[in-house]
């Protein structure tokens, strides 16, 4: 142990938490986990539950892998990572089925598919395997939050424009409909999630010119 202990929220650790929210966002910059971003963002509630589930799996998984990192033989590390992810995802799925049955039905296979969400494997392999427990935990939280806020923003717009509701409550007044306003059915279809993500990417790169690739 070094004589000067690093504070829990040192600048470096804070960066682990905040970088994935914008500059290293898993969805808009690294373009990982797009599949589930399309599938669960029709309504806000499932998107929120999905974001929470991924947070739980990623944060706990990162901690477990980081704890085990010195004992894992490199030859079987992918298998070990998969077992950890699969076990956590099954746990999350079981808990959802027991306590939020309706949402779990809406999410259907996509909770199970967290297993194949590249963000999680990516973080285990790139970060948790070679870092201490606390930074790994922060890295997990940060990346899950970066994934989650995109999901929630996309779901917000898709639900608002596609169904005229937020979290299941009508927010567009009946008067609008009487004047001929219609919910945009297109927003409910999966491709519209890509377009919303595209708009987020556009806004983000417009604000932060560093992110624009040169070619």
């Amino acid at each position: 142990m070094s004589d000067r202990r690093e504070p829990l929220f040192s600048a470096k650790n804070r960066k682990l938490l905040t970088a994935p929210l914008s500059k290293e966002n898993p969805i808009t910059i690294q373009v990982l986990g797009i599949c589930s971003a399309l599938a669960v963002t029709v309504k806000l509630e499932p998107a929120f539950v999905m974001a929470l589930s991924v947070t739980a799996v990623l944060a706990v998984g990162n901690v477990v892998i980081s704890l085990l990192r010195k004992t894992i033989a490199p030859r079987i590390r992918i298998i070990v990572q998969l077992v950890v992810i699969a076990a956590l995802v099954i746990l999350v799925d079981q808990v959802l089925k027991a306590f939020v049955y309706d949402v779990s039905k809406q999410l259907s296979v996509f909770v199970g598919l967290i297993i194949t969400n590249c963000i999680i494997m990516g973080r285990f392999e790139a970060f948790a395997m070679s870092n201490k427990v606390w930074p790994s935990f922060l890295d997990g939280l940060g990346n899950a939050a970066g994934y989650g806020w995109i999901l929630i923003v996309v779901a917000f717009f898709r639900e608002l424009l596609g169904s005229g509701t937020i979290w299941g409550y009508k927010v567009i007044p009946q008067g609008f409909y009487d004047f001929g306003y219609k919910d945009n059915g297109l927003m409910i279809l999966p491709p519209m999630a890509l377009i919303v993500v595209g708009i987020i990417i556009w806004v983000q790169r417009n604000k932060d010119k560093e992110l624009i690739e040169e070619n």
Binding site: A73, A98, Y101
Partner: protein, 252 residues
């Protein structure tokens, strides 16, 4: 650095540990999950009888409106009666019958492979002074099982409501069977013709109006969902036919 023995031991211990954790979790959470599944089944029955129910009050409303639960066999005999929270006759609560198993049993029996008789659940409800028969149905769609509940009026011929659901039919096409409008189509249709022969209800591709099927025995299929629609037709026929003898004997 890591010997083979180390790797094998490591992997074995890890797998056993994970298995223990997961099976414990499954055991602890099972009662909650089963409660949800039961509430959902009840909710399906209530919706077909046009009783609005949320998952939490479904059980209460069911107890309020149910008159009796019957299990009938193909010959139309009543084997089990469950009334006011007690088994009055027979030894199995009709609600607990697994329709999938019973339908398989029926298929086996029809082929002469099994002599066990299949039992079919029937729910008799009383809502707003009207008698309603609710029949659960189950069949195959394109990708997986489809199921639902069909409610009949007191003549056990005219459909008063129907609601279907599915495991994983194609969204926007076959999956439309779970929407309200598809169920609405069945309202007022009859499963017996004027000579009182069983004809079931057909889901007709291209529209009933353009086919040679009587308007009162058919509904329009879903465009692009032909196989699911045919699945609904088969499901209704295969399930409802088992009640024909019961209807002949008991409902006139």
């Amino acid at each position: 650095m890591f010997t083979n023995r180390y790797i094998f031991t490591y992997a074995s211990i890890m797998v056993i540990l994970v298995a223990a954790i997961l099976s414990t979790a499954s055991m602890v959470l099972k009662p909650y999950q089963e409660k949800n599944i039961k509430a959902e089944k009840i909710q399906g029955i209530l919706i077909s009888a046009e009783i609005e129910a949320s998952r939490s009050d479904a059980e209460k409303l069911f107890d309020e409106y149910i008159v009796e639960e019957l299990a009938v066999n193909k010959e139309g005999d009543v084997i089990s009666i469950f009334k006011k929270g007690k088994l009055v006759k027979g030894d199995v609560r009709p609600f607990d019958l697994n329709l999938k198993e019973q339908l398989n049993l029926e298929k086996e029996a029809a082929k002469g492979k099994s002599d066990k008789q299949a039992l079919f659940p029937l729910y008799i409800m009383n809502y707003n002074g009207k008698q309603i028969y609710v029949v659960p149905v189950r069949g195959m769609g394109l990708w997986g099982p489809i199921w639902g509940n069909v409610a009949f009026g007191s003549d056990f011929n005219t459909i008063t409501g129907a609601k279907f659901d599915h495991k994983g039919e194609t969204p926007g096409l076959g999956a439309e069977i779970s929407t309200n409008w598809f169920g609405e189509e069945f309202k007022g249709k009859t499963i017996f013709n004027k000579e009182h022969q069983f004809v079931s209800i057909a889901v007709v591709k291209g529209g009933v109006a353009n086919s040679n099927i009587n308007l009162s025995h058919g509904v329009d299929a879903i465009s692009g969902g032909t196989i699911t629609s045919n699945g609904v037709t088969d499901m209704l026929k295969d399930c409802l036919k088992n009640y024909v003898q019961y209807i002949d004997k008991n409902v006139k």
